[in-house]
């Protein structure tokens, strides 16, 4: 979070500055921009540029092989009647609305346990963080496919207890659940952030609470949660944005087709299929912008709602 603390300390100094301070700031800024340059070039060349291009393409009929043709709002009106798109929205919303809270709850729980001053904390921290590094990867998605296959590890264990498990990832009723589980498993990143947040809560609050006879549960709800709420908010925003865009797991687990029966057809996967599988890049671009709007709206709601539950103590 150092970059963010940096930002906040910059914003905190917004008050009156002497001429000398301003000059020093200018020098600092120049250095900062030079350090920023590689990122800035990348941002303009491989993010902003293509984004503008895709905005243009979203108003065209573009089959990849021939020049795009302007069609106005056609792509957007087509989305209104595209049943598979509506289904993909349902799948994506389910994934976000179930997966994110679950993942954050697990992350917080593990962080609370680790915060209790466990011996060998760095080891556990690394072990729990590991899935986050691997979770988005192709290798793990393939592994997941094996574990949750009809004759995979999960069903072999169930068979020992005489239970005949379904084909977790090949049955339309459980496939999405398996992918949500994969997402929950990658709780390491928010866990680390929670852990950092927990360590910043002054011990004296707990000491005072203990003196007053507060139970552990009361301490959690009255001290930990309010003090941790900015961190929780931060995690929530990041995870929601990230989850809306998740693609790899569904792509690999379903073999690229969002199956079975479109039950894991994420919005991004459908977008990819339309653009690269069906030569409909104009429509795919329009979908990308629609997703941007959805994420924007969710993030805005998040910020508005945060006024009512996020507590900043300084």
């Amino acid at each position: 979070m150092s970059a963010i603390s940096e930002l906040s300390s910059i914003s905190r100094r917004k008050g009156k500055l002497s001429a000398e301070e301003k000059k020093a700031n200018g020098r600092d800024n120049k250095a900062a921009y030079i350090f920023l340059l590689p990122w800035l070039v990348g941002l303009v060349a491989i993010t902003i540029g293509p984004m503008i291009m895709s905005l243009y393409l979203s108003f065209t009929d573009y089959n990849l092989l021939q020049p795009p043709e302007w069609v106005g709002l056609d792509n957007f009106t087509r989305m209104l009647t595209d049943a598979r798109l509506h289904n993909s929205l349902g799948v994506t919303f389910t994934y976000v609305l179930v997966g994110v809270p679950l993942q954050l709850a697990v992350a917080l729980l593990i962080a609370l346990v680790l915060d209790k001053g466990l011996r060998g904390l760095p080891f556990y921290r690394s072990v729990f963080y590991l899935p986050s590094l691997l979770g988005g990867s192709v290798a793990v998605a393939i592994l997941w496919k094996q574990i949750f296959g009809t004759t995979g590890l999960v069903n072999q264990v169930l068979a020992m207890f005489g239970i005949q498990g379904p084909g977790w990832i090949s049955d339309p009723s459980t496939a999405l659940g398996s992918i949500i589980l994969l997402h929950v498993w990658t709780f390491g990143a928010p866990m680390i952030i929670f852990l950092a947040g927990l360590r910043q809560i002054p011990v004296m609050y707990y000491e005072a609470a203990k003196v007053d006879g507060a139970t552990t549960l009361q301490q959690f709800w009255r001290i930990t949660m309010p003090m941790l709420s900015p961190i929780l908010f931060f995690n929530l925003v990041l995870q929601i944005i990230g989850s809306f865009q998740s693609f790899t797991q569904a792509f690999i687990v379903s073999g690229g087709n969002g199956g079975p029966s479109d039950s894991t057809m994420f919005f991004t996967l459908y977008l990819y299929q339309k653009g690269f599988g069906q030569f409909d890049m104009g429509y795919a671009s329009a979908m990308a912008w629609f997703l941007l709007v959805i994420i924007g709206v969710f993030t805005a709601i998040n910020f508005i709602a945060s006024k009512y539950w996020v507590f900043y103590d300084d």
Partner: protein, 452 residues
């Protein structure tokens, strides 16, 4: 989720330096900035520049789909071509069928298409009607020895955009080892019916260990649908580029599949879905889990290698019990096509000419891409064929007089049909849709896929 590791590792640092009470708080501004950055990181596509070759020699890129065996053979053929043409270098790019088309579409869009492209009939109209493929008739490629029907399959109003690499037919491959283990005799494919197919397959399942099934399910591509429709007097496509069947026809096809599934002639719905994603080497037939499966004839040698047993090539069953009504046809297994934007069309044509007409190429590639359309090469390599290849050639020969009319070429958009069939097959097998509903919906979707 590219930003997670970064923000998290930064978080780790601050967690390691104990700062309890230091009151370094995340401020709203920080969150806003981070959120904005993540939002902006959304959906970016990279572009790539075409690599340039070195002085003197010409470098051509050649892409194909296929398994390990094909990769070995093709690279061997490339070496022979390079030995004969030291100033041309061929750079191979190969992969599985599933990723091949996404990659090709992207490459073509980025103006970075491979010079030589292995093409399929499902996509050739898509690419050639949009000007992405070179008209090979304008270059020096000898077509005089090629089988006429195979040659015509690569012709359209856009010229000769593909040279057939091989001749193929839809088949059912049987693994005699599975039949033997179950004590079920192999069928006589000259007079078996679909009822026989069902009976034999369920019997194998019954008498085999758990997890082994008499037959793989059909319904994962359009070949088996094409055969079924032809046997019922319909066709997949009409010559004017429309669907050649009614919703009820495809509903009947699914109804029979459902019946097969209920009688355990084919694997469970979940297993069918899992099998779809498996590459050839891990398919049910290759791993000995299926007694019979639906494949193209040229895939038999590769499957035989993967399964390690002596496979038998069977004709499709019929309704009447006479193989004359099987409705099979010769398909161009794949085409050699060239990008219309290749910088070296002469050299590209030279390589395609080598693949299609050179005996050395034939001796290397043998029957991996189907039976050679060039009659001279076919005769010259006869003695070199492996026993598996011989079986394929024999089968193709055997059905010569039973073939139905050549089917109409797949229209533009036909590349999406397989995905639609697969999806509704699983809807039917998981009983989420009735066969009639699936038939109607699939028909609608296919219609709009090929009309746009």
């Amino acid at each position: 989720m590219p930003l997670f590791p970064r923000s998290a590792s930064a978080a780790k640092q601050s967690a390691e330096t104990p700062s309890r009470g230091a009151a370094r708080r995340i401020r709203k501004t920080g969150v806003v900035a981070a959120a904005a950055a993540v939002v902006m990181a959304l959906s970016a596509c990279g572009g790539g520049a075409a690599p340039q070759n070195a002085d003197g020699t010409v470098e051509l890129r050649f892409s194909w789909w296929g398994g390990d065996k094909r990769a070995q053979l093709t690279q061997e053929a490339i070496k022979q071509f390079e030995a004969e043409n030291p100033n041309i270098k061929i750079k191979p790019e190969f992969g599985d069928w599933s990723g091949y088309w996404d990659k090709l579409a992207t490459q073509v869009a980025a103006n970075d298409a491979p010079d030589i492209i292995q093409m399929d009939e499902k996509y050739i109209t898509e690419y050639s009607s949009r000007g992405a493929l070179l008209d090979l008739s304008k270059y020096e490629i000898d077509t005089s020895k090629l089988d006429e029907a195979a040659l015509n399959a690569g012709k359209s109003e856009d010229g000769l955009t593909g040279i057939a690499a091989g001749i193929n037919a839809a088949t059912i491959l049987a693994n005699p080892a599975v039949f033997e283990a179950a004590g079920v005799p192999l069928p006589d494919d000259s007079k078996w019916t679909w009822d026989d197919f069902e009976r034999i397959a369920s019997e194998i399942t019954e008498k085999s260990p758990k997890g082994t099934y008499g037959a793989a399910a059909y319904g994962t591509d359009e070949a088996s649908l094409g055969v079924w429709l032809r046997q019922n007097g319909r066709s997949l496509y009409t010559s004017d580029g429309k669907l050649g069947f009614e919703p009820s026809d495809i509903a009947e096809w699914w109804a029979f599949l459902k019946q097969l599934s209920e009688n355990k002639a084919v694997p469970t719905a979940s297993e069918v879905v899992e099998a779809e994603a498996a590459p050839l080497d891990q398919s049910g037939l290759a791993t000995g889990k299926n007694g019979m499966a639906f494949w193209w004839s040229n895939q038999a040698p590769a499957l035989e290698k993967a399964s390690g047993s002596d496979l038998k090539i069977l004709r499709f069953p019929t309704k009447t019990g006479s193989s004359a009504d099987a409705g099979l046809w010769y398909k161009a297994s794949q085409f050699w096509s060239a990008s219309s934007r290749t910088k070296h069309p002469e050299e590209t044509a030279k390589f395609i000419n080598f693949l299609a007409n050179n005996v050395k190429a034939g001796e290397t590639l043998l029957a991996d891409r189907g039976v050679y359309p060039n009659s001279e090469v076919r005769a010259a390599i006869e003695s070199k064929l492996t026993p598996a290849d011989v079986k394929v050639v024999k089968f193709i020969d055997q059905i010569k007089d039973e073939l139905g009319e050549a089917p109409a070429p797949p229209p533009k958009g036909a590349g999406s049909i397989q995905e639609i069939i697969k999806r509704y097959t699983s809807e039917v097998l998981f009983e989420r849709l009735s066969t009639e509903e699936a038939g109607k919906k699939a028909h609608d979707e296919m219609k709009s896929a090929i009309s746009s």
